[in-house]
Assembly symmetry: C2
Homo-oligomer: 254 residues x 2
């Protein structure tokens, strides 16, 4: 299986893993670090489509050989494992369940995109910000359980948040100020601290159902990992302090 892995690539924070318009001849499995998918509009503005955590597959596109309509950029230093498309097909002949795993992974992305869509289309700026922060916090904890309760390193600028939510960074700043004043959370220079998770959930107006769906992600230190490459993924590569891997119950978190 691992004979197909043409080695890991390391990507510096801020660099593209692939850029919009690139021909897609390989797929990538993110093995460490944070990244985001983004689209560029004609006028140069950017829309962040989603944030990507280790274990995700990047660059699997509907039409083979077509040009990517979006790009992926690393938020932290990151590493990816590259698999050529042709190898993937060959690989799947030996391991038929790979197709299903792929479908499962892509389907998770789709669900997140749908949630994001509903938030963008119908929620206020406050709701959107609360929604996004909750989503990232929960997904993060599902991957790396056992963190200190309400605190995390969130490698985003306010501009990233704005670009994800269809807001200006100026407005994101004002929303964050309000949330801070209300004692809900603090987000300062990539350090997120959630003081009142319940209030945050209240503001985001998220139902239990959705919350649940974000948590249902296989933990990386467990044995459920849908890892296309057959290697266990590690945490962030850089910017990362050492972390405990003690298993905690994440289901009823918050």
């Amino acid at each position: 299986m691992r004979r197909f892995r043409s080695g890991d690539h390391r990507i510096k924070a801020g660099q593209d893993i692939f850029s919009p318009g690139a021909r897609c001849e390989a797929i990538y499995s993110l093995t460490g670090g944070w990244a985001f998918r983004y689209a560029l509009l004609e006028d140069g503005r950017r829309q962040i489509l989603d944030f990507v955590l280790p274990g995700a597959v990047l660059g699997f596109h509907p039409t083979d050989g077509a040009r990517a309509t979006y790009g992926v950029q690393a938020l932290t230093d990151a590493s990816v494992c590259v698999i050529r498309r042709s190898d993937l097909v060959a690989l799947s002949r030996e391991l038929p369940e790979i197709g299903f795993r792929l479908a499962w992974l892509v389907s998770r992305d789709r669900s997140l995109a749908f949630d994001h869509l509903a938030s963008l289309g119908r929620q206020s700026a406050h709701q959107r910000v609360a929604h996004l922060i909750l989503e990232l916090f929960i997904r993060y904890r599902a991957q790396w359980p056992g963190q200190r309760f309400e605190e995390m390193h969130l490698p985003l600028t306010q501009e990233h948040i704005g670009d994800a939510l269809g807001l200006t960074s100026v407005h994101v700043n004002r929303v964050l100020r309000d949330l801070r004043k209300k004692g809900v959370l603090e987000f300062h220079y990539k350090r997120l601290c959630i003081h009142d998770p319940d209030k945050l959930i209240g503001i985001a107006e998220i139902d239990q159902n959705l919350l649940q769906s974000w948590m249902g992600q296989p933990a990386l230190n467990g044995d459920v990992g849908f890892d296309l490459t057959g290697q266990k993924t590690s945490g962030e590569t850089a910017t990362s302090s050492k972390r405990r891997t003690s298993r905690t119950e994440t289901r009823n978190a918050l």
Copy 2:
């Protein structure tokens, strides 16, 4: 293969194929008619996530046995073919490529969701309306080639458009009026007529790349159909007048 098909179901326009919060124990393949996926917010507002044409798979969710976070509603009278999840797994053991086909289908949805997301987040009302109409027009023509050039039956109300684009139906109405006044298109009681496709593309600010990605859909009367169920899908079931099936080159359409 077809022994797994537990028969076609017929759905009346306006009915749900499945509703938000439903347990997902089966998946559906839309075999005829139009539908849309939608999410409901706590306050009852609706966000339409995407529009679904025959050939699509509905109800494939990341977490087995979880509750759906969105619903699917028929826009026209429609028909679906139901496949139990357990049967799908069994089926895929015999036909390994099914996993891949599934991944491919879901990946298409994801791409459309991403396009939609970028439009919602960063484009003006005019651009969004132009974008959506173009997308639907192109996808429609890719499925049923040989239609009269600029005209189609689009089974949407202005409220549907608003719910898809995060706008009020009032505002959609004003945008459509402007587009009509500018001689770009007319949309009246589900009859869409595009008078100036180039101007429409200009307003939507869509790049060639994206346009191309919408067209790269297998035509239903061809032999490329990624049909999970093994049966050829037909056109709409109801509301449909007879249509020619003559093959035309859709690649350079518009």
